[in-house]
Structures are given as structure tokens and as C-alpha cells.
């Protein structure tokens, strides 16, 4: 099983201790780890075989994301292997093929530069791409660009004359200034300013004024994978907590024998199970009926956000004082859950999508 193999690798190569070491060293990215993932085919999990990828599908990508959530592995997997690859695989030109091959090989990493405010709102993008001869000049600012401090390519959403347009631009192009910023989850989110950055027609992904045709499926894939990660995170936090309930004794008995904690643990487990169903469904819909996957994706993201939050809160509380110490891993789970709750749309955002698609 893919999950077992992934878990085996991650437990070895990128357990929570790896994230901790990275944080303590002031780093937000481990190129060596990403190289290994690329060698295992993870970077190319959604890259067509023709471009050198493994093309395993969205359900498989979710399984990998879920396992990374369990071990809190930090990598460009979501930004690059899921979001950028999904955007690019919809384009059938040579340029896209090259980009996909570079992704699968691990050489090229992407960051998604869409949001400008404190909440996910792609449609509200104000960054301008002004016509300039045959090309464009981009001016404005993007924030909360996850992996944006180190990625070598950026997917930039910009406002053009009659709509929004998606650009694929090398991150070192003149006029781009990146301010990397470590988030509470010890990963990278950059503030990026664009000061008259040049772009040609070749940099446009899909059609001018029509970013969403290409971007929406990429966002769906990213949201589903992030949901899977949060679901795995919840399972990881719950696993630690369950083990602690069994081993920790107080008043002379294991604390897991206290009925109040038992019922809360059983409730949390139930919540994890229900969320797991939503994750599986999202993967199945993205693979089988992608045009109608929006509901499944938002359902998964909303549920996973909520379950992860419950899991880390109960995790800290049931661990007592030790759960509050930095020495213990639970805090890392809690911090990542908070970032995951916000990125690519919070609970309210996705609840709104669900309501709209369900007709109320």
C-alpha cells in the first residue's frame, strides 16, 4: 500500500524531529528531502507519464499528503506537486510539458501567489497586469505566499482588462522582491512585491482574462490535499494522545481509564472517521468526475479543518502541562493545524461553498 510505504519513508526521513531541527536551524525548506521525494516519484505524482511523472491521480496525492500530515513533514509537495502540476497538466504545449518534467524531476518548485488580504479570496485579486506591447507588466503585492521564499517559480494571479489572468513567472525575474517570513508552523510564507515585472504571452497559463479555468482545478486539488494533510495531522495528534492515555498514570491508574476522557477520545476518533470519509470522497471525485468535485473538496476541507482543530486542542489538554512544552511535539501539530485552517480557504469559506452548491 502507498500509505504504508509513505509512512515508512517519512517516519525515517522526516519525522517531527526533522521539522524541529529545521526550525531550530532557522530553515523553512530542506532541498535534500525534496530531492528524495522526487526520486520516489512524489514530486511527479500528478505529472503525466509523457512528462516523466508517475501520474498516480488525486486520491494517491491525498494519501501522500495525509501521511505528511501525520508526521508534519514540511515540503513543497502541495504548492508544487499538487497545485502547480494540476494547473500545468491542463495545458498541452511544450512549455507546460517542460515545466511538468522539471517538477517531476524535483528541480523546479512553485509557489502560489494569489491572496493579498488576510483571508483566501482569489476573486479579489487587485495586482495589475497592464498590457505592454505584446506582453504585460505586473505591479502589486501578494501575501501569504506559501513556499514563496524559496520556490523558483511563481503562479501569479493578476487582474487584466476583462478579468483575471494566471501567470507562470520565474521567481528571480527583475522587479520581484520577496520577503520570506517564517510562520508559526515553521514553514515559509512570503510577502512578494511586483514592481513592473515583465511577462510575455508565454508566461500566461491558459487564456488571458480567464484564470479560473486553469486555476480552479488546481485550487481544488490543493484544497483536497491540504484537507488530507489536516486529516492525517488529526490522526497523528490523536495517535499520540491515545498512546499517552494508555501509558500515563495518575491517582494510581492510567488516565485512559477515566470515563470522561474515554468518551472524549471516542468522540474524537468518531470525528476523525467521518472526516476520513470526506477525504476519500474528494479524491474519488477529483479522479472520476473533476468537473463536479467542488462540493466534495469544500466538504473535505471544512471537515478536516474542524477535526484537526479538535484533535490538537484535545491533544494538548489531555497531555496536561507536558503538552504545553516546546520539548514535546504536540505544539507543532497545533501550530500547523492553525496554518492549515487558513490556507486556501478557512472553514467559513468552504462552508459558504457547500451552502451555495447545495442551493441555500
Amino acid at each position: 500500500m502507498l500509505a504504508d510505504a509513505a509512512r515508512g519513508f517519512l517516519d525515517e526521513a522526516a519525522p517531527v524531529a526533522h521539522l524541529r531541527a529545521q526550525r531550530d536551524a532557522g530553515q523553512t525548506h530542506d532541498p535534500e528531502l525534496w530531492k528524495q521525494m522526487a526520486e520516489m516519484g512524489w514530486a511527479g505524482v500528478l505529472v503525466p507519464e509523457a512528462a516523466g511523472g508517475a501520474d498516480m491521480g488525486f486520491a494517491a496525492a491525498n494519501v501522500l499528503a495525509e501521511e505528511m500530515g501525520r508526521s508534519l513533514t514540511a515540503s513543497p509537495f502541495l504548492s508544487t506537486a499538487v497545485i502547480a502540476a494540476t494547473a500545468l497538466r491542463q495545458i498541452s504545449d511544450e512549455r507546460a510539458r517542460t515545466a511538468l518534467a522539471a517538477i517531476a524531476g524535483g528541480a523546479r518548485t512553485y509557489a502560489l501567489a494569489i491572496d493579498e488580504g488576510s483571508k483566501h479570496a482569489p476573486e479579489a485579486s487587485a495586482l495589475r497586469a497592464e498590457r505592454d506591447g505584446n506582453g504585460f507588466r505586473l505591479s502589486g503585492e501578494k501575501r501569504f505566499v506559501v513556499d514563496g521564499g524559496f520556490a523558483n517559480h511563481l503562479l501569479v494571479l493578476a487582474r487584466t482588462d476583462a478579468g483575471l489572468t494566471l501567470f507562470d513567472i520565474p521567481a528571480d525575474r527583475a522587479g520581484i522582491a520577496r520577503t520570506a517570513q517564517a510562520m508559526i508552523d515553521s514553514r515559509d510564507a512570503a510577502r512578494i512585491t511586483f514592481d513592473g515585472v515583465e511577462a510575455t504571452g508565454d508566461n500566461v497559463l491558459g487564456q488571458v482574462d480567464d484564470a479560473m479555468t486553469v486555476l480552479a482545478p488546481a485550487l481544488h486539488a490543493g484544497q483536497a490535499a491540504l484537507a488530507a494533510e489536516m486529516s492525517g495531522l488529526a490522526a497523528g495528534a490523536f495517535g499520540m494522545t491515545l498512546a499517552y492515555l494508555k501509558e500515563r498514570t495518575q491517582f494510581g491508574v492510567p488516565i485512559g481509564s477515566f470515563q470522561a476522557l474515554q468518551h472524549r477520545a471516542a468522540h474524537l476518533w468518531s470525528d476523525c472517521e467521518v472526516t476520513a470519509s470526506a477525504i476519500l470522497n474528494a479524491g474519488r471525485m477529483l479522479d472520476g468526475d473533476p468537473d463536479n468535485a467542488a462540493l466534495a473538496v469544500s466538504l473535505a476541507k471544512a471537515r478536516a479543518t474542524q477535526t484537526a482543530q479538535l484533535a490538537v486542542q484535545e491533544g494538548v489538554q489531555m497531555h496536561g502541562g507536558i503538552g504545553m512544552t516546546d520539548e514535546f511535539d504536540m505544539g507543532f501539530y497545533m501550530k500547523r493545524a492553525r496554518v492549515g485552517a487558513e490556507w486556501l480557504g478557512d472553514y467559513g469559506y468552504h462552508a459558504g461553498v457547500v451552502a451555495r452548491l447545495r442551493g441555500f
Partner: protein, 392 residues
């Protein structure tokens, strides 16, 4: 849904054709409420000719109990076929032809523990809707402690002499027979002296009394056994008990797990009904952020739970029995249904406060969901001990 493979595609076509031909128009109204159910039994009065025809045709084809073996009155469908059958039923909004505790509970118990002769004797009348069964588990004061059975069956050679009282026996006043847990050995440990016995409700000394509920309905009864004589055998190789004497707890345990698994089709669980958001948006109060937020959350949880029901059914039919984990379905599903009914009441506001509006009885009825068939607390304890392995 995806595509059926070859055999299944053929099967779907067959079912569709059969339904087209056999399901009366009046049975295609999608009604699922208490009033539209056909329970069957000797005292049953069909609510319409169509209901009677529909039951008869289904029973003849084995479709009242589609997964039971053909020799016992079923159609012998496997899980994939069953799914298709239900999908096709749903496509034309067909009512279920028959529902009963015989189908839900006794049938599975007999299929698992019964002798061949027992099955031949008892199952076909259930499938045809001729005998209506009720379930005699709970006793006054026992509540969640089902094994504390006090109703006693004394061994009188060729028969048992039964004395005692059951409670919460659904529709006992309308049933023909009862399957009951009786204490057949008072000296054995609590779980070792119980037998699972089949009793004709017309027996002298058996009587029932309906219990009025807060919803105004009386679906439950107290059932009394006053020196009831129960034969030990109903024919050759047809003992009156299911499984071995004094091992009735094994049957009960099996049924408890089975009940939780098959409960997934029950109206007491949310997750497969009409969109709560749409129901409430018709009331016009979804501009209130409190109500709107509660409904959005409930809609999300119901959708995810509906997917979970499907996932568990698939696992069960794939032979990966979900066993104790199915207690989760009972717990989550009933709590969700209570939430759903609360929100329906809140959305309807003053309109729902009159009895004749009809929403209040459903709302009040839902409060029993997390009590009957094992309380939420019992489910959580089962999960924590048996699934999570937390110490007793």
C-alpha cells in the same frame, strides 16, 4: 456511481425492467414516514390495494428481503447487486415493500445461528409479510445493562414456564411473535444463563401495554409474561430457542453489532435525507447568522456522515466487518439527527409550536434515537474500550 461492469450492467437492466413493470404508480411517491410503512403480520390492514400488490409481487420475486438466500424467501443478491437494486428503487422513488423486525433482526440471527429447519420454518413467512415480530430485550430498571435479564424461563421438561416483564418492545401490541432474552439458568454468571427464545404472542399469559411518549405517539410497549408456556420445540430440528440454550447472549451480542451496522438505513440517522439548508431556506430565516451558521455546520456534518455510512457499508460487504466500530455510526448518526430536528424546529419558529403542524412529533421522537438500541454513552464506551483499547 460510476460504470457497472458487464454482469452488473445486465443486472441493472433486469431490475429496471422488473420495477418498471411491477411497481405500482402509487408506490412511487417516495414516502418514508411512519404512515406509509408496510409492517405486515396477521393483523395488518393494507393502506391501499397498491401496497398489497407491491408486497405480493416483491415477495414472490424475493425482493422483500433481497439479500436472503432464495430458499428462505429472498433473492440471493450480493452486495453489488443489492446496491444496484436500491439505486434503481430510489430512481423511481419506490417505497420499501415491507419493513419489520423480522427482516432487520430475527432474520439475520436465524441466518447466523439457526438450524436449517428453523430457517425454513420461520424465514419465508417473514419475507412474505405474514408474521410480524417484535423484540423483547430491555427490562424495567435495566436500561443500558441488557445482560441483567430477570424474566425467567423455568425448565418444565417439554416446555419453558416464562414469567417476567419486558419494556420498550416496539409495537409488541401489533406483533404476532416475539424473540426475547430469557434467563434460563439463575445460577450461572450474568452472561451465561440467558437464552434467545421465540414466543407466540397469542400464548395464554402474554399481554402488552403501550407506553405513551412525549411526542404523543406510543410505538413502545410493556410486555408481560404471566406463566406463559413456551414449547421447547416447534417441530423436528426446530428448537424454540436460537443458538444453544444458555448461550443466548452470543446471539444478542451478534444482533447488537448487526443492529448498529444495519441501523445505517434507519430514519434515526441523519446523513441521507433532504438538504437541511434547503428545508430551512424555505422558512426564510437563513439570513440570521446564528441559524445560518448552525445549518451550514449541520449540512457539512450530515454530508460527511452520509459518505461514512456508505464507506462502512462497503467495508462490511467487502468482508471487512466493521464490528464494534459501527457503534460510531449509531453515535454520530443519532446525535446528528437530533441536531437536524432541533434546527428544523428553530427554522420553523412559531409555526412548529402547534401540534397539528407535525414537525414537533418528529423532533421529540428524535430524542429517543440516542437512547434506543444502545445509548450514546454506551456507544462511546464500546468505542473507547473495544476500538481504542482504553483500559476498563
Amino acid at each position: 456511481m460510476g460504470q457497472d461492469s458487464g454482469d452488473l450492467a445486465l443486472f441493472r437492466a433486469d431490475i429496471r425492467a422488473w420495477l418498471d413493470e411491477n411497481c405500482p404508480q402509487d408506490m412511487r411517491d417516495g414516502a418514508v414516514g411512519e404512515d406509509s410503512i408496510c409492517w405486515g403480520g396477521k393483523n395488518w390492514n393494507f393502506t391501499s390495494e397498491a401496497q398489497e400488490i407491491w408486497l405480493h409481487r416483491c415477495a414472490t420475486a424475493g425482493y422483500s428481503v433481497p439479500t436472503w438466500p432464495v430458499e428462505y424467501g429472498g433473492a440471493g443478491l450480493n452486495r453489488d447487486q443489492e446496491k444496484i437494486f436500491h439505486e434503481e428503487m430510489a430512481r423511481i422513488n419506490a417505497r420499501l415493500p415491507l419493513q419489520s423486525f423480522g427482516i432487520w433482526m430475527l432474520g439475520p440471527a436465524l441466518l447466523q445461528f439457526g438450524t436449517h429447519a428453523q430457517k425454513l420454518h420461520f424465514l419465508p413467512p417473514i419475507a412474505r409479510g405474514e408474521i410480524r415480530w417484535c423484540q423483547g430485550y430491555s427490562e424495567p430498571g435495566a436500561g443500558s445493562d441488557l445482560a441483567s435479564v430477570q424474566t425467567k424461563a423455568e425448565d418444565k421438561g417439554d416446555h419453558w414456564l416464562v414469567n417476567g416483564q419486558k419494556i420498550w418492545t416496539s409495537y409488541a401490541n401489533k406483533a404476532d411473535w416475539i424473540f426475547a432474552l430469557l434467563r434460563t439458568d439463575r445460577d450461572a454468571p450474568k452472561h451465561k444463563g440467558i437464552s434467545f427464545v421465540l414466543i407466540d404472542m397469542r400464548s395464554e399469559g402474554a399481554s402488552t401495554r403501550p407506553i405513551g411518549l412525549i411526542s404523543g405517539a406510543s410505538p413502545f410497549c410493556e410486555t408481560f409474561f404471566d406463566n406463559v408456556k413456551v414449547p421447547k420445540s416447534y417441530g423436528e430440528d426446530i428448537p424454540s430457542q436460537v443458538g444453544e440454550i444458555n448461550r443466548g447472549w452470543d446471539v444478542a451480542k451478534y444482533l447488537l453489532t448487526h443492529e448498529r451496522e444495519m441501523i445505517s438505513g434507519s430514519a434515526m440517522l441523519a446523513g441521507s435525507g433532504r438538504s437541511l439548508g434547503v428545508i430551512l431556506s424555505e422558512s426564510g430565516h437563513l439570513d440570521d447568522p446564528i441559524l445560518r451558521a448552525d445549518v451550514m455546520r449541520a449540512e457539512i456534518d450530515e454530508l460527511a456522515f452520509g459518505l461514512t455510512l456508505e464507506r462502512y457499508k462497503d467495508q462490511a460487504s467487502a468482508g471487512q466487518g466493521t464490528g464494534d466500530a459501527s457503534a460510531m455510526l449509531k453515535y454520530v448518526g443519532t446525535e446528528l439527527n437530533k441536531r437536524r430536528q432541533e434546527l428544523i424546529m428553530a427554522g420553523a419558529g412559531a409555526d412548529a409550536l402547534a401540534w397539528d403542524d407535525g414537525r414537533a412529533p418528529d423532533w421529540l421522537r428524535s430524542k429517543a434515537n440516542s437512547i434506543e438500541g444502545g445509548t450514546s454513552e454506551v456507544m462511546l464506551s464500546i468505542l473507547s474500550r473495544r476500538v481504542l483499547g482504553l483500559p476498563g
